[in-house]
Protein backbone atom coordinates (compact mmCIF):
# COMPACT_ATOMS: atom_id res chain seq x y z
CA UNK A 1 0.00 0.00 0.00
CA UNK A 2 1.28 3.43 -0.93
CA UNK A 3 1.56 6.26 1.56
CA UNK A 4 -0.51 9.22 0.40
CA UNK A 5 1.09 12.53 1.35
CA UNK A 6 -0.73 15.82 0.76
CA UNK A 7 1.30 19.02 0.58
CA UNK A 8 -1.12 21.73 1.61
CA UNK A 9 -1.29 25.19 3.21
CA UNK A 10 -4.54 27.04 2.62
CA UNK A 11 -2.70 30.17 1.58
CA UNK A 12 -1.25 30.52 -1.89
CA UNK A 13 2.34 31.27 -2.75
CA UNK A 14 3.90 29.73 0.33
CA UNK A 15 5.80 27.02 -1.54
CA UNK A 16 3.46 24.02 -1.92
CA UNK A 17 4.48 23.16 -5.47
CA UNK A 18 8.18 23.83 -4.81
CA UNK A 19 7.94 21.56 -1.77
CA UNK A 20 5.93 18.86 -3.56
CA UNK A 21 8.47 18.74 -6.38
CA UNK A 22 11.43 18.69 -3.99
CA UNK A 23 10.01 16.06 -1.64
CA UNK A 24 8.84 13.78 -4.45
CA UNK A 25 12.25 14.01 -6.11
CA UNK A 26 13.97 13.41 -2.79
CA UNK A 27 11.93 10.27 -2.08
CA UNK A 28 12.65 8.96 -5.58
CA UNK A 29 16.39 9.63 -5.15
CA UNK A 30 16.24 7.52 -1.99
CA UNK A 31 14.99 4.65 -4.11
CA UNK A 32 11.27 4.89 -3.43
CA UNK A 33 8.89 4.69 -6.37
CA UNK A 34 7.03 7.98 -6.19
CA UNK A 35 4.34 9.79 -8.14
CA UNK A 36 3.50 13.45 -7.69
CA UNK A 37 0.03 14.67 -8.67
CA UNK A 38 -0.98 18.25 -9.47
CA UNK A 39 -4.46 18.92 -8.02
CA UNK A 40 -4.55 22.53 -9.21
CA UNK A 41 -7.03 22.03 -12.05
CA UNK A 42 -7.04 25.00 -14.41
CA UNK A 43 -3.83 26.45 -13.01
CA UNK A 44 -1.28 23.71 -13.37
CA UNK A 45 2.31 24.54 -12.49
CA UNK A 46 3.89 21.41 -11.12
CA UNK A 47 4.87 20.44 -14.68
CA UNK A 48 6.86 23.67 -15.00
CA UNK A 49 8.61 23.23 -11.66
CA UNK A 50 9.46 19.63 -12.61
CA UNK A 51 10.59 20.73 -16.08
CA UNK A 52 8.26 18.44 -18.03
CA UNK A 53 5.74 20.98 -19.36
CA UNK A 54 6.36 20.07 -22.99
CA UNK A 55 5.72 16.42 -22.40
CA UNK A 56 2.15 16.77 -21.11
CA UNK A 57 -0.29 14.92 -23.37
CA UNK A 58 -3.00 13.58 -21.10
CA UNK A 59 -3.81 14.75 -17.59
CA UNK A 60 -5.44 13.82 -14.27
CA UNK A 61 -8.96 14.76 -15.43
CA UNK A 62 -8.59 12.72 -18.63
CA UNK A 63 -7.81 9.70 -16.47
CA UNK A 64 -10.75 10.34 -14.13
CA UNK A 65 -13.09 10.67 -17.10
CA UNK A 66 -11.73 7.54 -18.75
CA UNK A 67 -10.42 9.46 -21.78
CA UNK A 68 -6.91 8.13 -21.17
CA UNK A 69 -5.39 5.46 -18.97
CA UNK A 70 -2.86 6.10 -16.24
CA UNK A 71 0.11 4.90 -18.27
CA UNK A 72 -0.71 7.39 -21.00
CA UNK A 73 -0.99 10.29 -18.57
CA UNK A 74 1.96 9.60 -16.27
CA UNK A 75 5.14 11.42 -17.27
CA UNK A 76 8.37 9.71 -16.32
CA UNK A 77 10.91 12.07 -14.83
CA UNK A 78 14.08 12.43 -16.90
CA UNK A 79 16.36 12.42 -13.86
CA UNK A 80 15.02 9.47 -11.89
CA UNK A 81 13.54 6.13 -12.90
CA UNK A 82 11.52 6.09 -9.69
CA UNK A 83 9.65 9.33 -10.28
CA UNK A 84 6.47 10.05 -12.22
CA UNK A 85 4.33 13.16 -12.62
CA UNK A 86 0.56 13.26 -13.13
CA UNK A 87 -0.21 16.75 -14.45
CA UNK A 88 -3.39 18.72 -13.82
CA UNK A 89 -5.76 19.65 -16.59
CA UNK A 90 -5.35 23.20 -17.79
CA UNK A 91 -8.81 23.58 -19.31
CA UNK A 92 -11.35 21.83 -17.10
CA UNK A 93 -12.83 23.35 -13.99
CA UNK A 94 -12.13 22.17 -10.48
CA UNK A 95 -15.39 20.28 -10.08
CA UNK A 96 -14.00 17.70 -12.49
CA UNK A 97 -12.36 16.16 -9.42
CA UNK A 98 -14.92 13.87 -7.80
CA UNK A 99 -14.39 11.87 -4.65
CA UNK A 100 -15.00 8.62 -6.52
CA UNK A 101 -12.82 9.58 -9.47
CA UNK A 102 -9.88 10.68 -7.36
CA UNK A 103 -10.28 7.64 -5.11
CA UNK A 104 -10.13 5.28 -8.08
CA UNK A 105 -6.96 6.91 -9.51
CA UNK A 106 -5.23 6.85 -6.10
CA UNK A 107 -6.21 3.22 -5.62
CA UNK A 108 -4.73 2.28 -8.99
CA UNK A 109 -1.54 4.23 -8.28
CA UNK A 110 -1.25 2.57 -4.86
CA UNK A 111 -0.60 -0.76 -6.57
CA UNK A 112 2.53 0.51 -8.29
CA UNK A 113 3.93 3.24 -6.08
CA UNK A 114 5.33 3.56 -2.57
CA UNK A 115 4.58 7.25 -2.21
CA UNK A 116 1.86 9.39 -3.75
CA UNK A 117 2.46 13.11 -3.28
CA UNK A 118 -0.63 15.29 -3.74
CA UNK A 119 0.20 18.91 -4.56
CA UNK A 120 -2.82 20.84 -3.27
CA UNK A 121 -4.09 24.07 -4.81
CA UNK A 122 -4.50 27.09 -2.55
CA UNK A 123 -7.84 27.73 -0.89
CA UNK A 124 -10.37 25.33 0.60
CA UNK A 125 -12.44 24.57 -2.48
CA UNK A 126 -13.03 21.29 -4.27
CA UNK A 127 -9.47 20.79 -5.59
CA UNK A 128 -7.90 21.40 -2.19
CA UNK A 129 -10.46 19.23 -0.39
CA UNK A 130 -9.95 16.37 -2.85
CA UNK A 131 -6.17 16.55 -2.49
CA UNK A 132 -6.37 16.08 1.28
CA UNK A 133 -9.34 13.70 1.46
CA UNK A 134 -7.44 10.42 1.03
CA UNK A 135 -4.21 11.50 2.75
CA UNK A 136 -2.31 9.44 5.30
CA UNK A 137 0.21 12.19 5.95
CA UNK A 138 -0.17 15.96 5.58
CA UNK A 139 2.68 18.40 5.16
CA UNK A 140 1.42 21.82 6.16
CA UNK A 141 3.58 24.28 4.27
CA UNK A 142 3.69 27.51 6.25
CA UNK A 143 5.52 30.83 6.01
CA UNK A 144 6.43 32.55 9.27
CA UNK A 145 3.81 35.20 8.69
CA UNK A 146 0.34 35.84 10.18
CA UNK A 147 -1.96 35.04 7.26
CA UNK A 148 -0.12 31.87 6.36
CA UNK A 149 -0.16 30.58 9.96
CA UNK A 150 -3.86 31.29 10.35
CA UNK A 151 -4.68 29.55 7.06
CA UNK A 152 -2.56 26.57 8.07
CA UNK A 153 -4.63 26.26 11.21
CA UNK A 154 -7.81 26.31 9.11
CA UNK A 155 -6.43 23.48 6.99
CA UNK A 156 -5.62 21.51 10.16
CA UNK A 157 -9.31 21.82 11.02
CA UNK A 158 -10.24 20.44 7.59
CA UNK A 159 -7.83 17.51 7.93
CA UNK A 160 -9.42 16.66 11.28
CA UNK A 161 -13.01 16.83 10.08
CA UNK A 162 -13.34 16.56 6.30
CA UNK A 163 -10.84 13.83 5.40
CA UNK A 164 -11.57 10.16 4.78
CA UNK A 165 -9.74 9.22 7.95
CA UNK A 166 -11.88 11.64 9.97
CA UNK A 167 -15.15 10.58 8.35
CA UNK A 168 -14.48 6.89 8.82
CA UNK A 169 -13.11 7.31 12.36
CA UNK A 170 -9.74 5.87 11.38
CA UNK A 171 -6.41 6.81 12.87
CA UNK A 172 -6.04 10.55 12.15
CA UNK A 173 -3.83 11.96 9.40
CA UNK A 174 -0.25 12.51 10.56
CA UNK A 175 0.27 16.27 10.44
CA UNK A 176 3.70 17.80 9.89
CA UNK A 177 4.76 21.41 9.81
CA UNK A 178 7.09 22.50 7.03
CA UNK A 179 8.24 26.05 7.60
CA UNK A 180 9.35 27.71 4.37
CA UNK A 181 10.92 31.04 3.41
CA UNK A 182 12.52 31.25 6.82
CA UNK A 183 14.92 34.11 7.40
CA UNK A 184 17.09 33.61 10.52
CA UNK A 185 18.37 37.15 10.24
CA UNK A 186 14.89 38.65 10.50
CA UNK A 187 14.04 36.32 13.38
CA UNK A 188 17.09 37.62 15.25
CA UNK A 189 15.97 41.21 14.78
CA UNK A 190 12.44 40.35 15.96
CA UNK A 191 10.79 40.99 12.60
CA UNK A 192 9.79 37.41 11.90
CA UNK A 193 8.08 34.64 13.85
CA UNK A 194 10.60 32.02 14.94
CA UNK A 195 10.37 28.27 14.39
CA UNK A 196 9.45 27.89 18.06
CA UNK A 197 6.70 30.53 17.76
CA UNK A 198 5.00 28.77 14.84
CA UNK A 199 5.42 25.36 16.46
CA UNK A 200 3.83 26.66 19.63
CA UNK A 201 0.89 28.26 17.82
CA UNK A 202 0.05 25.35 15.52
CA UNK A 203 1.16 22.60 17.94
CA UNK A 204 2.12 20.02 15.31
CA UNK A 205 5.36 18.17 14.72
CA UNK A 206 8.03 20.00 12.73
CA UNK A 207 9.40 18.12 9.73
CA UNK A 208 11.61 20.78 8.21
CA UNK A 209 12.64 24.41 7.96
CA UNK A 210 13.53 25.73 4.51
CA UNK A 211 15.45 29.00 4.53
CA UNK A 212 14.52 31.84 2.21
CA UNK A 213 16.86 31.16 -0.66
CA UNK A 214 17.88 32.46 -4.06
CA UNK A 215 18.20 28.85 -5.14
CA UNK A 216 14.41 28.39 -5.25
CA UNK A 217 13.84 30.92 -8.04
CA UNK A 218 16.89 29.65 -9.89
CA UNK A 219 15.53 26.12 -9.69
CA UNK A 220 12.07 27.07 -10.93
CA UNK A 221 13.59 29.11 -13.77
CA UNK A 222 15.30 26.01 -15.06
CA UNK A 223 12.58 23.48 -14.20
CA UNK A 224 14.82 21.54 -11.82
CA UNK A 225 13.45 20.71 -8.35
CA UNK A 226 15.54 22.69 -5.87
CA UNK A 227 16.49 19.55 -3.92
CA UNK A 228 18.78 18.65 -6.84
CA UNK A 229 20.80 21.80 -6.18
CA UNK A 230 22.68 20.08 -3.38
CA UNK A 231 25.05 22.99 -2.96
CA UNK A 232 22.22 25.28 -1.91
CA UNK A 233 20.85 25.77 1.60
CA UNK A 234 17.25 25.17 0.44
CA UNK A 235 18.29 21.99 -1.40
CA UNK A 236 20.03 20.65 1.69
CA UNK A 237 17.10 21.61 3.91
CA UNK A 238 14.70 19.68 1.65
CA UNK A 239 17.01 16.65 1.70
CA UNK A 240 16.92 16.76 5.50
CA UNK A 241 13.13 17.03 5.38
CA UNK A 242 12.89 13.91 3.22
CA UNK A 243 15.16 12.05 5.66
CA UNK A 244 12.85 12.99 8.54
CA UNK A 245 9.78 11.86 6.57
CA UNK A 246 11.53 8.51 6.16
CA UNK A 247 11.89 8.33 9.93
CA UNK A 248 15.55 9.31 10.23
CA UNK A 249 16.54 11.71 12.96
CA UNK A 250 18.38 14.58 11.30
CA UNK A 251 19.24 17.79 13.19
CA UNK A 252 17.77 21.06 11.89
CA UNK A 253 20.11 23.30 9.92
CA UNK A 254 20.07 26.90 8.71
CA UNK A 255 18.26 28.24 11.79
CA UNK A 256 21.08 30.57 12.71
CA UNK A 257 22.14 33.63 10.86
CA UNK A 258 25.26 32.96 8.84
CA UNK A 259 28.11 34.62 10.65
CA UNK A 260 30.00 36.95 8.42
CA UNK A 261 33.75 36.87 8.76
CA UNK A 262 35.67 40.05 9.40
CA UNK A 263 36.79 40.36 5.79
CA UNK A 264 33.24 39.84 4.54
CA UNK A 265 32.02 42.48 6.95
CA UNK A 266 34.54 44.96 5.63
CA UNK A 267 34.45 44.18 1.94
CA UNK A 268 30.88 42.92 1.68
CA UNK A 269 29.89 39.54 0.36
Amino acid sequence: MAQIIVVTSGKGGVGKTTSSAAIATGLALEGHKTVVIDFDIGLRNLDLIMGCERRVVYDFVNVINGEANLNQALIKDKRSNNLFILPASQTRDKDALTKEGVGKVLEDLSKDFEYIICDSPAGIEQGAMMSLYYADIAIITTNPEVSSVRDSDRILGMLQSKSRRAEQNLEPIQEYLLLTRYSPKRVTTGEMLSVEDVEEILAIELVGVIPESQAVLKASNSGTPVILDNESDAGKAYSDTVERLLGNNVPLRFLEEEKKGLLKRIFGS
Partner: protein
Protein backbone atom coordinates in the same frame (compact mmCIF):
# COMPACT_ATOMS: atom_id res chain seq x y z
CA UNK B 1 21.91 58.73 14.90
CA UNK B 2 22.00 55.13 13.81
CA UNK B 3 23.56 54.27 17.13
CA UNK B 4 20.69 55.94 19.02
CA UNK B 5 18.15 54.08 16.90
CA UNK B 6 19.93 50.86 17.66
CA UNK B 7 19.43 51.26 21.38
CA UNK B 8 15.97 52.69 21.07
CA UNK B 9 14.67 49.85 18.92
CA UNK B 10 15.41 47.32 21.65
CA UNK B 11 12.84 48.84 23.97
CA UNK B 12 9.58 48.48 22.05
CA UNK B 13 8.22 44.94 21.68
CA UNK B 14 9.22 43.37 18.37
CA UNK B 15 6.69 43.04 15.58
CA UNK B 16 7.19 39.26 15.68
CA UNK B 17 5.98 39.05 19.27
CA UNK B 18 2.97 41.13 18.29
CA UNK B 19 2.28 38.69 15.45
CA UNK B 20 2.58 35.76 17.82
CA UNK B 21 0.17 37.29 20.32
CA UNK B 22 -2.43 38.04 17.63
CA UNK B 23 -2.12 34.57 16.16
CA UNK B 24 -2.51 32.85 19.49
CA UNK B 25 -5.81 34.63 20.02
CA UNK B 26 -7.16 33.99 16.53
CA UNK B 27 -6.06 30.35 16.48
CA UNK B 28 -7.60 29.69 19.91
CA UNK B 29 -10.83 31.22 18.60
CA UNK B 30 -10.73 29.13 15.40
CA UNK B 31 -10.09 25.98 17.38
CA UNK B 32 -12.92 26.60 19.81
CA UNK B 33 -15.32 26.92 16.87
CA UNK B 34 -13.88 23.79 15.30
CA UNK B 35 -14.97 21.59 18.19
CA UNK B 36 -18.55 22.81 18.20
CA UNK B 37 -21.31 20.66 16.71
CA UNK B 38 -22.57 21.33 13.17
CA UNK B 39 -25.91 22.71 14.33
CA UNK B 40 -24.16 25.38 16.35
CA UNK B 41 -24.14 28.32 13.92
CA UNK B 42 -27.87 27.84 13.22
CA UNK B 43 -28.71 27.54 16.90
CA UNK B 44 -26.75 30.70 17.63
CA UNK B 45 -28.63 32.49 14.87
CA UNK B 46 -31.99 31.41 16.26
CA UNK B 47 -31.09 32.45 19.81
CA UNK B 48 -30.22 35.89 18.47
CA UNK B 49 -33.56 36.08 16.64
CA UNK B 50 -35.45 35.28 19.84
CA UNK B 51 -33.59 37.92 21.82
CA UNK B 52 -34.17 40.37 19.00
CA UNK B 53 -37.95 40.07 19.46
CA UNK B 54 -37.54 41.87 22.77
CA UNK B 55 -34.30 43.83 22.58
CA UNK B 56 -32.51 45.08 19.52
CA UNK B 57 -29.03 43.64 19.51
CA UNK B 58 -26.51 42.85 16.84
CA UNK B 59 -24.69 39.60 16.35
CA UNK B 60 -21.43 40.78 17.81
CA UNK B 61 -23.13 41.51 21.13
CA UNK B 62 -23.85 37.83 21.61
CA UNK B 63 -21.26 35.19 22.24
CA UNK B 64 -22.18 31.54 22.46
CA UNK B 65 -19.61 28.98 23.53
CA UNK B 66 -19.48 25.37 24.50
CA UNK B 67 -16.98 24.51 27.21
CA UNK B 68 -16.01 20.92 27.68
CA UNK B 69 -15.14 21.04 31.37
CA UNK B 70 -14.64 17.35 31.84
CA UNK B 71 -15.59 14.27 29.93
CA UNK B 72 -19.24 14.09 30.97
CA UNK B 73 -20.00 17.76 31.30
CA UNK B 74 -20.34 20.34 28.54
CA UNK B 75 -21.44 23.84 29.43
CA UNK B 76 -23.30 26.03 26.98
CA UNK B 77 -22.34 29.57 27.76
CA UNK B 78 -24.46 32.40 26.42
CA UNK B 79 -23.23 35.92 26.86
CA UNK B 80 -25.38 38.86 25.77
CA UNK B 81 -24.23 42.44 26.06
CA UNK B 82 -27.36 44.55 26.41
CA UNK B 83 -27.37 47.97 24.79
CA UNK B 84 -27.19 50.96 27.12
CA UNK B 85 -30.52 52.50 28.15
CA UNK B 86 -31.32 55.65 26.34
Amino acid sequence: MALIDYFRSKKSPSSASLAKERLQIIVAHQRSERDTPDYFPKMKQEIIEVINRYITISEDQVSVNVDQNDENLSVLELNVTLPEDK
